[in-house]
């Protein structure tokens, strides 16, 4: 019979004498949780039901929420009153002071409050210390070595861990954790996530936060109606709500996450418009040095004249084809294979994929057939005209163009344009110029905002 009491004592003694240290423990736990996350991602991929994982996540959140609610209801009335009291009056100092530069006295007080009998005060002191950034890590370590209070030690360890492992960057007063950055890697395998990719994703998140913070400062808000409208347009561009939902599922994204992304996108767009508009109405106040010039008609005309090929008539078919050359009696067998590839294409859509499926790896080409231009080999003039006149977008056919080669041809892109005079082309040319200018302005605005923001780590955008 096992002496279980002995086991409990053994564990405690192991922890007291044989523990590898708190940092190592925290790293071990983080590694373990990461493995769980990876395994779940693999399972989700294996099941190919991304929607289920979303539902599961929601179910977990719901069960945690139900637990939280239950805890609230089982708290005695007096406890609830006490919590309510402390959250409304009295010990609010840490939360209030979190927004201003802390003095040494503030920090000392918050550290003392980590052992306060009231958990609410302890939580707020932790939060206030957390907001103060990596500069205090040294101080946390010092306090950790001095304190024997388990609660204080555990909170200090959490703070040290947070600033040494969990935080990816800080934008002004906002903290960005690696978890936020990693959310963008949902559809990547962990082995594909390189350091460069991590840094790239971090820069994208930081950049967006800089824009959003400026929008917030200026009071820019996207209304629910605007958001609904944008989401509807987005769904329409996918060919309807159902198709949009499938596309999201394929990417492992929830409609809620998509909605929030649209909201952020609209906010940033509105910020850019506002800054541009303000700079345009008051030339003296153009802090981001935006290009506010108007493109003259003459300039557009010069560009039109310099690029005549862009406005000439075009009738072009971009095609992909596979050649089956044959000698004598091989003809029928080659034709059967060619027809089988066309049948395969009904499910595969792409000629390349269909060929791969049928074991054909050679003589696959791509090229363009243009009316009025020389035809590429091995197409005859007749076949070229057949493709330009009769083929539909995406269509594939077997073409017997000569006595010693059978072709399977797929039309994958079609360009038809009539020639345009300057007057006809002017709106499109102007739009192109405006787009270029918008891009330049967006870049200047980005640089300006990044320069003004306080970003840690400091070298994140260096040389970019």
């Amino acid at each position: 019979m096992t002496d279980w009491e002995d086991r409990v004592l053994d564990l405690a003694l192991e922890e007291l004498h044989g523990s590898p240290g708190e940092d190592a423990e925290a790293a071990r736990i983080e590694q373990g949780l990461r493995r769980v996350e990876q395994k779940l991602a693999e399972l989700g991929e294996a099941e190919r039901t991304p929607a289920t994982s979303g539902r599961r996540a929601i179910a977990v959140a719901a069960s945690i929420l139900s637990l939280a609610c239950a805890s609230w209801f089982v708290l005695g009335r007096s406890d609830r009153a006490q919590v309510a009291e402390t959250s409304s009056v009295g010990r609010q100092e840490p939360a209030k002071k979190a927004g201003v530069a802390p003095t040494e006295a503030d920090v000392t007080q918050w550290i003392e409050q980590l052992s306060d009998p009231n958990s609410d005060v302890r939580d707020r002191a932790s939060e206030a210390l957390k907001q103060k950034g990596p500069d205090l890590v040294g101080r946390f370590r010092e306090e950790l070595s001095k304190s024997s209070d388990l609660e204080v030690r555990s909170r200090l360890q959490d703070l040290i861990y947070f600033w040494t492992h969990a935080v990816a960057a800080r934008v002004n007063d906002e903290i960005i954790t690696w978890d936020t950055v990693k959310a963008g890697f949902k559809d990547l395998r962990p082995s594909d996530i390189t350091e460069e990719l991590r840094q790239q994703a971090l820069r994208a998140v930081v950049e967006e936060r800089v824009f959003l913070q400026e929008a917030h400062r200026r009071g820019i808000v996207v209304t629910e109606a605007e958001l609904r409208d944008a989401v509807r347009r987005n769904a329409e561009s996918f060919g309807g709500e159902e198709a949009h939902r499938s596309a999201l599922r394929a990417k492992g994204r929830t409609p809620e996450a998509e909605r929030e992304q649209v909201r952020r996108h609209l906010t940033v767009q509105r910020l850019q418009d506002q800054i541009l508009e303000q700079a345009g109405s008051n030339r003296g106040g153009n802090p981001f040095n935006l290009d506010l010039s108007e493109t003259s008609r003459e300039e557009l005309r010069r560009w039109y004249a310099a690029n005549p090929e862009k406005f000439a008539a075009v009738d072009r078919a971009d095609v992909c084809w596979v050649e089956f050359p044959f000698d004598g009696e091989q003809g029928p067998a080659r034709k059967t294979l060619a027809e089988a590839i066309v049948v395969k294409m009904r499910t595969k859509n792409s000629l390349g994929w269909a060929c791969t499926e049928m074991g054909v790896k050679e003589n696959i080409h791509i090229g363009s057939l243009e009316r009025g231009a020389p035809r590429p080999e091995p197409f005859s003039e007749e076949t070229k005209n057949l493709i330009l006149d009769r083929f539909k977008f995406g269509e594939a056919r077997v073409v017997e163009d000569s006595k010693d080669v059978i072709l399977v041809v797929q039309l994958y892109d079609r360009t038809r344009r009539i020639s345009e005079t300057f007057e006809q082309a002017e709106p499109a040319v102007r739009a192109m110029f405006e787009n270029q200018k918008r891009e330049v302005n967006r870049k200047r605005l980005r640089e300006g905002l990044l320069e003004r923001a306080k970003i840690t780590p400091e070298g994140l955008f260096r040389g970019r």
Binding site: R7, L16, E25, L33, L40, A59, L150
Partner: protein
């Protein structure tokens, strides 16, 4: 989950898992629970639920290794574990153990440190302490008996 990681690992170690098996089983438990999240309405039920899943995982692992423990034995284990299962209770218990270890005389304290910092490798610890393996075993048993009664006293006093 982070909050439950260590207590669950400790529980599995308590049941008799090695460090690495406990680590694996904690991860398997989390995966199983996240794959089918329970709907619980009692505060504290989540930790107990995790323990029951982990215990089943442990039993399966033992079945595979053909060394299945007795159910009655595990029932007794849970009864002993329950008072120290929560993080705060465990910290209180460990603090009491620490207090009792501090009150031991120097020789016994050094012996404990030597033994537990070597992950219970008795032979090696005995050699370091200049004792025979059997002598080390007997001494440890005595020290632990003293510790257990000291811890009980401390906790009941608190």
């Amino acid at each position: 989950l982070e909050e439950h990681y260590r207590p669950l690992w400790r529980y599995l170690r308590f049941l008799g898992c090695s460090d690495t098996l406990a680590e694996d089983l904690v991860q398997e438990t989390f995966i199983a629970v996240l794959a089918r999240p329970p709907v619980l309405h009692e505060p504290g039920a989540f930790a107990a639920y995790l323990r029951s899943v982990a215990r089943n995982k442990y039993l399966k692992a033992r079945q595979k290794a053909k060394s299945e423990p007795a159910w009655e034995d595990l029932g007794a284990a849970d009864a002993i574990w329950e008072p120290v299962a929560d993080r705060e209770d465990w910290d209180r218990y460990r603090e009491a153990v620490k207090g009792c270890v501090d009150s031991l005389d120097d020789r016994d304290r050094v012996l404990l440190e030597t033994y537990y910092s070597r992950k219970g490798r008795r032979k090696e610890s005995a050699a370091t302490s200049g004792l025979s393996e059997e002598g080390m075993k007997t001494l440890l048993r005595r020290i632990k008996t003293r510790l257990k009664s000291c811890v009980k006293g401390k906790l009941s006093h608190d």
